[in-house]
Symmetry: C2
Subunit: 466 residues, 2 copies
């Protein structure tokens, strides 16, 4: 007979206690598949509890597949092998890799967590996960229509880009957008990438067996003369804040680039507007896409900087003919972003919370940038600061000749999260005078001065150690 | 002067009304960049409101970047071009594509939405989006460690697979898992796919420029003799419920497959366990991975059937040597699943809700399956039913000679969501006697009989129309 130790004084209802007891007995093998349970009445009598309590416990067990009820015969333990039955949890596994300890956080790909609108996000998710909102359906391969509408609206009002939501494809990061682009363009295409530039692009092209060629920069961005010579047909650029040098491409170079694209069929420009939300000074320069009368620009945007890199939502705007290619052949690839995340983002934008958040963060980052620039000027009066007009990182060009790679290694080993400019060159060529890429996304305002002083001291120590 | 129409009787606080008014004036261009605002005191006097109200409104505007405060000078409208300023929302765009109207929903890739645990999911997301939970950090390329622990634990207790979380890679769907596998295996590898089989696999291989070859099935699954002849080195199989025929691979064929893999270096088996959670009868057969002493099986799982296809979370378990390949070269590819979704799933499993949900759904789907089988037997007494021991779909082999493709087209045009078996053959070869793939994931229990009768009638009409 079943002998549960029921405790009416607990806050857990009696039927739940009985349910848990019987489930445990099944898991432990004390009740075997096919065995008959006592009738509800006799168990209620035996345990001196109400019939309802037993009925509720049995019903839940039937509902979860532990028992089956056969009419006029009674309750039986289900064929147990079919059930997912957690055994005792194995002890936790040891994690092999440990994150590096960081004391001075100049990482460039992080955001400020203190100001994140946690409660608004929770609300957005709560609304997103609602019966009847269609959130359980496999999302449209391009991403949900209503989120695409919000993005189109945002692009129109903030970037001057007039696009139709049907041109937008939502995905989970640069690699997946390029995975799709690779399928749309001619297989002979050669991609031109900025050098120095976003290091992950070359990995992505290698993985996709896609030919690519690095193109040098001058102070206005990718050199169009070299681009023309290279034979490349798809130029990947970051005009609003070149990564990593931070230069903002002037109008004239933008026009040159568009002219280049117009010269031959199959030429495209991929405009990665990765941190255009954060521009602090200077006149705004229209995005390439907003000037794109020839329809040759694939515009890429992301919410990694403006909301969080952990959100994994990015998107692209396709020119008309690529959109047709996409619709014809590529809708078999599902949108990797969960419907809940899509809906939550849509709600967040729709309610005006994205706008508020952006404006607040821009202001906040501007203050941090000013504090950082000030601290750097004091600590390194001879050094040059670059790329600080926008974005969440800047460059510190030291004026001393030092082995760049050794210096960066030295700093990284001493709990500085920072990068050297040479790391973003395809050939990893170092400069005689080192240049450091300093992010301030996650760096706390109150830590800036301290961190800059620590950086100064570490560099001095490095020089002495030489 | 500013003349807001403040309404103390509203529930919106006065300072919010003032804030909204000034913001609107800025957006409308009535207040231009650089223009000075009235001092807080004079505005308070003019509007006959408290100084605090004005201070709160100004502070929020400063905080959001609309105003800047210059010491001893007052408040000025920020350089407005830098702000994201939604104009009047453009009218909604028309959506080009419309979803097909479905009256009889035999779709195979859907789940039952009625029983979805909405409130538990909302709770899980609420907990996931919490300050200090590390949810804003870029997730580990393999997916969060603690979610991988939960998956390892689940695989151990439900599938007899003993894996270390470090072997698990979490991603957003089959295409992305294969994108990674393609980079890990030798470029000369040829993938063997089941024929008939999961139609999207061939698209994925084509997109990745990966060679693949279809291998025929017998009633035990992929034919190992044909596999051996084919020269393929990576066999992609669905042993627990072959897609779409539904056959369950017996132990002997599993052993043959493992023996094939052991015969030459570089051979692997991809075991796609896509709906193994739902098995209704018969003895359980161990997964290939649990028998994989030679470490040649890449195990793939997904939460598309067990939770929702819209969740977009899948994973694979890598053999030791592929894990090393992965760690060496492929961690540059970020995990496409948002940290919030990962955390929510982890919480959902950890609290035992996944187990409960699975057991409840298995029971529910079993009932629907029984109702469907019964209804089909009555409506089509001569037909054969196949693949019904597991999963969320079954096959109906009609006993009449009919043009298969025409019949399927006819039914699809008449609001039946269903597929023909021939659609899953690589060569789209039809059979003299049609076979229909009937899913019952989303089909409501109370609609089953009606839908089967409608199917019968539609097939009769089709015959008459011939």
């Amino acid at each position: 007979m079943l002998c549960p130790d029921l405790k009416p004084e607990l806050s857990v209802p009696l039927y739940q206690q009985l349910y848990a007891y019987i489930k445990e007995e099944i898991h432990l093998g004390h009740l075997t598949p096919g065995s008959k349970l006592p009738s509800k009445r006799s168990l209620a009598n035996f345990l001196n509890i109400s019939l309802n309590t037993v009925t509720d416990a049995y019903n839940q067990l039937v509902d979860e597949g532990y028992l089956k009820s056969l009419e006029r015969k009674g309750y039986f333990v289900e064929n147990f092998d079919l059930l997912y039955k957690p055994k005792n949890r194995p002890k936790k596994w040891d994690q092999e890799e440990k994150r590096k300890k960081v004391t001075y956080d100049f990482s460039f790909n992080t955001i400020d967590e203190g100001l994140f609108p946690y409660s608004l996000w929770r609300k957005a998710y709560r609304e997103a996960v609602e019966k009847g909102t269609d959130f359980l359906n496999d999302p449209d391969p391009q991403g949900g229509w209503s989120l695409r509408q919000e993005i189109a609206h945002y692009l129109y009002s903030s970037r001057g880009v007039n696009v139709h939501p049907s041109q937008i494809v939502i995905s989970a990061g640069t690699e997946f957008l390029f995975f799709l682009i690779n399928q749309m363009v001619s297989p002979q295409s050669i991609f031109a990438v900025e050098n120095p530039g976003y290091e992950r692009l070359s990995h992505i092209f290698k993985a996709g067996d896609q030919k690519f060629t690095p193109i040098g920069l001058d102070r206005w961005g990718m050199r169009t003369d070299l681009l023309e010579e290279s034979g490349a047909s798809i130029a990947c650029v970051t005009p609003s804040h070149q990564f990593p040098t931070g230069c903002i491409m002037p109008l004239s170079r933008r026009q040159d680039l568009l002219a280049w694209a117009g010269k031959a069929p199959g030429r495209y420009i991929v405009e990665d507007d990765y941190d255009s939300e954060f521009r602090y000074s200077g006149r705004p320069i229209p995005s390439l896409k907003s000037m794109d009368v020839g329809d040759r620009v694939i515009y890429m945007g992301s919410f990694s900087k403006s909301i969080s890199p952990s959100l994994r939502i990015s998107y692209m705007v396709l020119p008309q003919n690529l959109k047709e290619e996409y619709l014809e052949r590529l809708t078999v690839f599902k949108c990797p972003v969960s419907a809940a995340s899509q809906r939550a983002l849509e709600i967040f934008i729709q309610k005006g919370n994205f706008e508020k958040h952006l404006n607040r963060m821009r202001n906040h980052y501007r203050r941090k940038r000013e504090t950082l620039v000030q601290a750097l000027k004091e600590a390194f009066p001879q050094a040059k600061i670059g790329g600080e007009e926008a974005g969440l990182h800047l460059l510190l060009y030291l004026d001393k000749k030092l082995p760049e790679k050794d210096l960066v290694d030295y700093l990284q080993e001493r709990s500085f999260a920072l990068r050297g400019l040479y790391e973003f060159r395809l050939d990893k060529l170092t400069s005689p005078k080192p240049c450091l890429v300093l992010g301030f996304g996650r760096l706390l305002e109150e830590d800036i001065e301290k961190s800059v002083l620590a950086l100064k001291e570490a560099i001095l120590n490095f020089k002495e150690d030489l």
